[in-house]
């Protein structure tokens, strides 16, 4: 599911945060979950020993306190509504030392079950789960360390890899933030989704529809044996309309509008959302009635609005191009080949990409992808250059160094399932050093099409990852637009960004949870590619029409 929003006005994370380097965390933090983690992790650090095997040298544990609300409705009727509180634990144990340990040894699959996790204020109840997790994790880590050493004795590693530490040592940090305790009025959101979904009753061509509202408050409690600790809350809420329909030729189409924000106040009012949904449905029904694309095209294509952000997310992060990957010792998977292009041109010299994960506000607006500290107790930089004027400078990374990226820049994140962390972006900005107005870009599109003897150029206005949803022909002769359906861009990849004719001087902010955690993409409002191939989607499966008439209420 993708979460996206253009408007961020304010943010409710009212907690006073202080990130500090500390030589030793306090023995009692005032946070009973954190104290329980600290006590049990320290006990395990002292006691986890197996004859002839290495003891742990590093342990961390995270407890995610989760409160989740979901409500959904269709055609004005409630479909479901739930609210639940639960806890999830995430263990991490290293055996050996920072230079040589059990990490980076292929996929790490600890086969351990997690018994029901206490949601009570009971240190022993919380410690039970930590003990259970760490015992299983340590045994696996100790065994894997031995296996890894045996494997390494049979291998010759390249010098640049052999000299890299397996896990980066960091100074301890402490960050204590108060829980948010945001009131979730489920009855209000039930009414909201019912009322918002009711408008679809007026559109009989919409076959299926659903309005969802969700809210999730999470407090992450973390401690590691380097004496880093933190308690950090976060909150995200969203409203979403999903619709599907069938075109007259049998193509099934679906689309959604999602608004995700870090506070309820930033979500649209019911009236605002309803109006937005009506506009969205009108556009969607126009797409349903649009002609199927009937010819192949190779020429300039402009992406506009959220489709630019979707594209940036897909090409640089969902496909993990700008995410570091150390080559595992037993290599079924490989390193990220793009890292070999470090300090070389990888995209147009007019474009730069930076990570702003440690930046709370951008031009006065709170960024939903901001986080003060990552799942390995590393604070992300306020600004980190990834690509500078087209040249690759860095990649998002955690605490496993890679040859060209060095150590962590604070991007190991746990929000996907609160159990297994992964490297993921927070705030990302793609910018151009040669911006154009949107009018100039449109003219450039037409000029480029004319240069190729094409009757029209293409503008993509809605996409879902790599899939094009709404694409418009813009005719060279008179500039009029024609929406077409069923298209795909077959040759779109990161290399396409080497041939960008221009980017808008206007920026949009787009929130997404496509990688499981909240991320904000600050991107130009339009991006013009020199040449892409547009053709009918070869995987379209046209359905026969509905046999029985859609039901209507008398």
């Amino acid at each position: 599911m993708t979460m996206k929003a253009k408007n961020i006005t304010k943010y409710l994370l009212a907690a006073a945060a202080a990130l500090c380097v500390a030589h030793a965390a306090p023995a009692q933090s005032g946070d009973y979950v954190l104290d329980a983690i600290r006590g049990e992790v320290d006990r395990n650090m002292q006691g986890l020993r197996i004859d002839k095997l290495q003891p742990p040298f590093f342990i961390s544990y995270t407890v995610a306190d989760v409160r989740q609300m979901d409500a959904s409705a269709s055609l004005g009727a409630l479909v479901g509504s739930n609210e639940v509180s639960y806890r999830v634990g995430s263990p991490f144990v290293l055996v050996g030392d920072y230079m040589h340990n059990n990490s980076n040894f292929g996929e790490f699959n600890v086969n351990y079950s997690q018994p029901p996790f206490s949601i009570e204020k009971d240190p022993v109840g919380i410690a039970n789960n930590i003990w259970n997790d760490l015992d299983a994790y340590y045994k696996s880590a100790a065994e894997r360390f031995e296996s890894k050493q045996a494997t390494l004795r049979q291998q010759k590693q390249p010098e640049e890899e052999a000299n890299l530490s397996d896990f980066e040592q960091r100074d301890p940090v402490t960050l204590m933030m108060e829980p948010l305790h945001i009131e979730i009025d489920r009855a209000y959101w039930e009414n909201y989704v019912k009322k918002a979904s009711e408008i679809v009753r007026r559109y009989p061509d919409i076959i299926d529809s659903r309005v969802n509202a969700s809210a999730r408050e999470v407090t992450m409690h973390y401690y590691n044996t380097e004496q880093s600790s933190y308690a950090v809350p976060s909150f995200v809420c969203s409203v979403q309309l999903t619709v599907s329909a069938m075109a007259d030729d049998g193509q099934q189409i679906s689309d959604d509008v999602i608004i995700a924000e870090p506070s309820f106040e930033q979500l649209p009012s019911l009236e605002e959302f309803t109006a937005q949904c009506e506009r969205f449905i009108e556009d969607f029904l126009a797409l349903r009635a649009a002609p199927m694309i009937d010819d192949a095209y190779c020429g300039p294509v402009m992406f506009e609005g959220e489709s630019v952000a979707e594209l940036v997310q897909q090409m640089f992060f969902l496909n993990r191009s700008l995410i570091a990957q150390r080559k595992p010792v037993t290599a079924y998977s490989s390193s990220n080949p793009l890292e070999m292009m470090m300090n070389k041109k990888v995209i147009s010299r007019s474009l730069s990409i930076e990570s702003l994960s440690g930046t709370e506000y951008y031009k006065g607006r709170k960024l939903a992808g901001y986080f003060p500290i990552d799942a390995q107790a590393v604070a992300p930089d306020k600004q980190l250059t990834l690509v500078e004027d087209g040249v690759l400078r860095n990649m998002l990374n955690g605490r496993i160094p890679t040859p060209k990226t060095g150590g962590s820049n604070g991007h190991m994140r746990l929000e996907v399932n609160f159990r297994i962390p992964q490297i993921a972006p927070g705030n990302v900005r793609l910018s151009s050093n040669q911006p154009y107005t949107n009018e100039q870009l449109r003219q450039m599109l037409l000029d480029a099409a004319r240069e190729e003897d094409l009757d029209y150029g293409y503008i993509v206005r809605r996409s879902d990852g790599p899939s094009v949803i709404a694409i418009y022909r813009v005719y060279v002769a008179d500039g009029h637009e024609e929406l077409v359906r069923g298209a795909q861009i077959s040759d779109l990849n990161m290399r396409s960004f080497k041939h960008v004719l221009g980017a808008s001087d206007q920026e949009i902010i787009y929130n997404s949870s496509a990688m499981g955690n909240m991320a904000s993409y600050i991107v130009p409002d339009a991006l013009l590619f020199e040449e892409l191939e547009v053709a009918r989607n070869s995987s379209l499966n046209l359905k026969s029409p509905y046999i029985v008439e859609r039901p209507v209420v008398e």
Binding site: S118, A127, N128, W131, V548, P551
Partner: protein, 558 residues
């Protein structure tokens, strides 16, 4: 808590009440509207049904005295069936050498939990269209398969003719059966808290599930059912690990239709203490080797044993599949068990000698009234459990077509009741066990006291075998030494040879209430049996984890 009365009244009045049920009205209307069109298509639908399961659940989970989850949920799921072809041959027929034939669950959809007719009808209409098209495609596959494969051994129809019935119960308010949640959270915490005092216990949980299900069924033959069921289930599990890495779990569950029928708090706490002590004993019990010889099964274990080795082999629709071993298909009238044994399946009763049975229902998931079936009488096989999939000699259903709402129903078990006309006392059975062991020159026999469950394979391509997983096993010595608790064996065998070894039945009936998983999903069943003496069983070593026990002791309060 207010008592709820099941309302089952005359047909005339039933219709009047049913007319006020908005869900039922929508189902009737939409079924008629869709059938009117689909029955006139080039490949006409000849039968359709719609099912809805409206479920309210409340789940409480605790572990080591701590609350882990306390959550209500309300959901409404729709499913149904469209048949094309004819009763003699339709889209549900098995595709030989081509998988399982009729694909299930195409229609299962989440319905609004509110009674808005348009919102409900829209989901049903869209799902029906998809299901009809899928059925037509499948029917084409069936016709092609029939044309190129050898003739079916069983030439019975694909779908039985049944008498239409109308049955209506008034809706029940979940609030009326919901107990005081905070009170039960505290109770559940106490139950799992018992294990906090035992350092041997590595994991434990106590769960309570309160569930109210309202099932709707309508079909194009005129059947209309709205039936409620509600139940209270408490299940407790705890486990330890022996020094050799063997994981040793124990389970205890309680089932009741009325909160007052659940055992008292004190009784459950006593059970938990016994379970905790037994786990500590099991942890240090010796591991035994493979064995063949006589064994005694306690009533609880015998119920599961019969469900696996016998029950699954009298499920009618399974006997039609040409991939099935069809163990009993040609044995009607033959002696299959000792002459004093009888086995019935009866979904109509809700208790047996005061013990509640979880496999009860009024109508099955094909809209057929659940009927008592005497499968074995005087040791002879008399009948099979039947859904609306006929087999030769058994053309109609006896109300055992069951399935989760997400799946298409197949023949499944209900309440299995094994009885003997010549029951033996516990001491008689024990004496017979020792005598049989001595006869075979054995130093000891086995007593299987508690089982976790089991599984069986009934197909032809794999050995037609069963495996029952004992949790508590004793050696019973022939020389009078005290029984010895042991661990590490599974009970295995093949059904026909096992049936021939069953020697005697006890007089201590007990019930196992649980869930059975098979082709149509997980459904509640129960098994009633007394202790059983079996002259020859076979055991094999249980698989075990290779992990050592935890290195550190479980955290304890300071």
């Amino acid at each position: 808590m207010r008592k709820i009365l099941l309302i089952v009244i005359s047909a005339l009045f039933v219709q009047g009440l049913a007319a006020q049920d908005e869900v039922l009205d929508v189902l009737h209307d939409e079924l008629a509207r869709n059938m009117a069109v689909l029955s006139k298509e080039a490949e006409p639908a000849y039968y359709m049904n719609y099912r809805v399961q409206d479920s309210y659940t409340y789940t409480i989970v605790t572990s080591f005295g701590n609350l882990a989850l306390s959550m209500p949920r309300h959901s409404r799921i729709f499913n149904g069936m469209v048949r094309v072809g004819s009763r003699q041959m339709d889209n549900t027929r098995e595709i030989k050498s081509g998988g399982y034939g009729y694909g299930g669950g195409v229609m299962a959809q989440q319905l609004p939990v509110e009674n808005d007719p348009l919102a409900l009808r829209n989901v049903i209409w869209e799902a029906t269209d998809r299901q009809y098209k899928e059925s037509v495609k499948q029917y084409e596959n069936v016709k092609a398969n029939v044309a190129v494969k050898v003739e079916a051994e069983d030439k019975s129809d694909d779908f039985s003719q049944q008498q239409a019935e109308t049955y209506y119960e008034a809706p029940v308010d979940f609030a009326d059966i919901l107990p005081h949640i905070e009170k039960w959270e505290e109770r559940l915490k106490k139950y799992s808290g018992v294990f906090s005092d035992n350092e041997d216990i590595l994991q434990c949980s106590s769960n309570m599930s309160i569930e109210l299900v309202r099932k709707y069924f309508v079909d194009t033959e005129g059947t209309s059912v709205a039936e409620n069921s509600w139940a209270y289930r408490i299940s407790v599990s705890a486990s330890t690990t022996a020094e050799d890495g063997m994981n040793l779990p124990l389970y205890k569950s309680y089932f009741a239709y009325d909160l007052d029928e659940l055992p008292s708090e004190g009784q459950i706490l006593d059970d938990m203490k016994q379970m905790s002590a037994m786990l500590s004993a099991l942890r240090v019990a010796p591991v035994v080797e493979a064995y063949s010889g006589p064994a005694l099964m306690t009533a609880n274990a015998a119920g599961v044993f019969f469900h696996e080795i016998f029950g699954h082999r009298v499920e009618g629709s399974r006997l039609k599949q040409e991939t099935d071993a069809q163990t009993f298909k040609k044995k009607v009238g033959e002696t299959v068990l000792p002459a004093d044994f009888s086995i019935i399946f009866d979904p109509q009763i809700k208790e047996y000698e005061g013990m509640p049975l979880s496999g009860s229902y009024v109508f099955d998931d094909e809209g057929v009234r659940g009927r008592k079936v005497e499968v074995v009488s005087g040791g002879k096989l008399e009948s099979f459990l039947m859904s609306r999939t006929p087999i030769e000699g058994f053309p109609v259903s006896n109300g055992h077509g069951r399935g989760m709402i997400y799946m298409n129903p197949v023949t499944r078990q209900s309440n299995l009741i094994l009885e003997s006309s010549a029951p033996k006392s516990e001491s008689q059975l024990r004496a017979m066990l020792i005598e049989e062991a001595k006869k075979g020159g054995k130093e000891y026999a086995y007593l299987f006291d508690n089982v976790a469950g089991g599984f069986t394979t009934t197909g032809r391509y794999m050995p037609n075998a069963f495996n029952v997983t004992p949790l508590v096993v004793y050696k019973v010595y022939t020389d009078g030494r005290p029984d010895e608790l042991v661990r590490g064996v599974d009970l295995v065998g093949t059904p026909l040879s096992m049936f021939s070894q069953i020697a005697a039945c006890g007089s201590d009936p007990d019930v196992f209430n649980g869930y059975c998983g098979a082709e149509s999903g997980s459904i509640p069943v129960s098994c009633v049996s007394s202790s059983l003496l079996i002259n020859m069983v076979e055991t094999q070593k249980k698989s075990k984890s290779q992990s050592q026990p935890p290195i550190l002791e479980r955290p304890q309060a300071e």
